[in-house]
């Protein structure tokens, strides 16, 4: 026992955000980003040891948009996975506003309380997004947004799966089996919404905020054309994260 204890090496998260020199070539210094999308990030200290780096990200469309979602087929689906699937199903993939993401805690295997946390996170973000850009398709949510902002709280419906007023998806990544520090997250969501912008720097900071043990943010953007739209250049941009527990089988 003594020997194995001595052999254990402890991991410490990097104390700065320096990207290893051999990975720097994968981080873009500029990009072309799709019109009408804004992204942002904020620091909520989801993981207690993270005192410095942004761990909340928001990717949103200025107008409600079509969405598609693939998720893990692991039978123990995390709370944000089941909540996001429910939102997509309820609204038939239409008029979705975006997605709010936290790193540092996966909100997985956290039961009913975890689902409530995921819904609170999605609902407050959606309400504030709607306040920022009122949507003609989402009048009820707009009214609720005014009320929740006035009261300073977000109420959760008794049915923990009632997502009728939520059109923003939610994702989480990090440690499994721990509850989200939802109060800290909610306190920072207004800052997150205020941080929204569409520059390369916004996209890069947002890509970094979803990282866990990743050594570099993963962000790509590209332009393309479609045969039926002569003279129009479209853009696509994407961010991803992942370093360990990686063997996706999504559907």
């Amino acid at each position: 026992v003594s020997l194995s204890t001595q052999q254990t090496r402890r991991y410490s998260a990097p104390t700065d955000s320096a990207i290893p020199p051999n990975k720097a070539k994968y981080v873009p210094t500029e990009g072309t980003y799709p019109k009408g999308f804004v992204v942002g990030s904020a620091h909520a200290q989801v993981k207690a040891s993270n005192t410095k780096f942004d761990d909340l990200a928001l990717i949103a469309s200025e107008t409600p948009c079509s969405a598609a979602l693939v998720t893990t087929q692991n039978h123990f689906q995390a709370a944000p996975v089941s909540v996001s699937k429910k939102i997509m199903f309820q609204h038939q993939s239409k008029s979705i506003r975006g997605v709010v993401i936290n790193s540092g805690c996966a909100n997985a295997v956290t039961g009913k309380g975890g689902r409530e946390d995921a819904m609170r996170m999605a609902k407050l973000t959606h309400d504030l997004l709607n306040k920022r850009n009122p949507s003609p398709h989402d009048k009820s949510a707009e009214v609720e947004a005014k009320e929740s902002v006035k009261e300073g709280t977000v109420q959760i419906a008794e049915d923990d799966q009632d997502v009728s007023a939520i059109r923003t998806l939610v994702m989480s990544t990090g440690v499994i089996g721990q509850r989200l520090p939802i109060d800290r997250i909610e306190a920072k969501i207004p800052t997150l919404v205020e941080s929204l912008g569409n520059t390369h720097d916004h996209w890069l900071r947002s890509a970094r905020a979803i990282c866990t043990t990743d050594t570099f943010p993963k962000l790509l953007s590209r332009q393309f054309t479609l045969p039926s739209y002569p003279g129009i250049t479209f853009s696509i941009a994407g961010m991803t994260k992942g370093a360990g527990m990686i063997h996706p089988n999504m559907a």
Partner: protein, 249 residues
């Protein structure tokens, strides 16, 4: 955990968006592995707001170009529903390529990884069988530690092929394995039709020094066997254990 968010300003109908994402996922994110563990949280979302062409028709699942769409109230001939529009095909190509590049970035940043490894399996009974074999190699801890140690231990690759689950298409005397160097130089044949080759260890060491490597497996010599699959993986280092030994605490 893998998370991904993709946004485009192209106008895409929601049903088309779903099939586009599903198709592209199967040839990108579902083709990578770092440690063989499937997360509770893996999610990829695709958003399309049509802002680059507001007010226009959309890329549709029914595969018709705008000019081919029926006028309001008219019915659509069933055979036209089968037709793939050029828009749909192009969007599929763009999205698949884009998502493959995003997926590869994850493998390059696998915890503790020092190598990016492409495992390509050809001449299997079908694509599914090829995928199973490629996965078996790409998730083998012993193959991955050998790659980290720059050891051309092709015996472990053969071992992983041999125990690939549910596979009856393995014919040891028709199986060939090669390393394809990242610098474009000639492949290094390790096994041809089940017979081990005299391996130039110095050349093998040079190839394994490179960050990128391809392992090419040919399962058959028969013309009819056209199953192919590619899986992207990385090596397995001490650092992986260090990072994950106390991830929670």
């Amino acid at each position: 955990t893998l998370l991904g968010v993709i946004c485009t300003d192209a106008p895409i109908q929601k049903t088309a968006l779903r099939t586009l994402l599903s198709t592209a996922t199967n040839s990108s994110f579902n083709r990578i592995t770092v440690d063989g563990d499937t997360s509770t949280n893996d999610s990829v979302a695709l958003f399309a707001n049509g802002m680059a062409a507001p007010g226009s028709d959309v890329v549709r699942l029914n595969h018709l170009n705008r000019a081919e769409l029926p006028t309001r109230g008219a019915s659509l001939p069933p055979r036209k529903l089968e037709k793939q529009s050029e828009d749909y095909k192009e969007m599929n190509k763009v999205l698949t390529s884009f998502m493959e590049d995003l997926a590869k970035l994850i493998v390059r940043d696998g915890e503790g990884a020092t190598k990016f490894v492409t495992v390509r399996v050809t001449k299997a009974d079908n694509h599914t069988a090829a995928h199973v074999v490629a996965n078996s190699i790409a998730t083998s801890a012993l193959v991955k530690t050998a790659l980290y140690g720059k050891d051309a231990n092709w015996g472990r690759i053969l071992c992983a092929i041999g125990y690939a689950p549910g596979n009856t298409c393995i014919r040891p005397n028709q199986t060939s394995v090669s390393f394809i160097p990242a610098d474009g130089s000639e492949e290094l044949k390790l096994l041809v039709n089940g017979e081990p080759q005299a391996v130039d260890e110095a050349r093998a060491a040079t190839i394994l020094e490179m960050e990128d490597l391809e392992i090419l497996v040919k399962l058959s010599n028969k013309e009819k066997d056209v199953g192919e699959a590619t899986v992207y993986t990385c090596d397995f280092s001490h650092e992986y254990v260090t990072i994950n030994g106390d991830y929670r605490t």
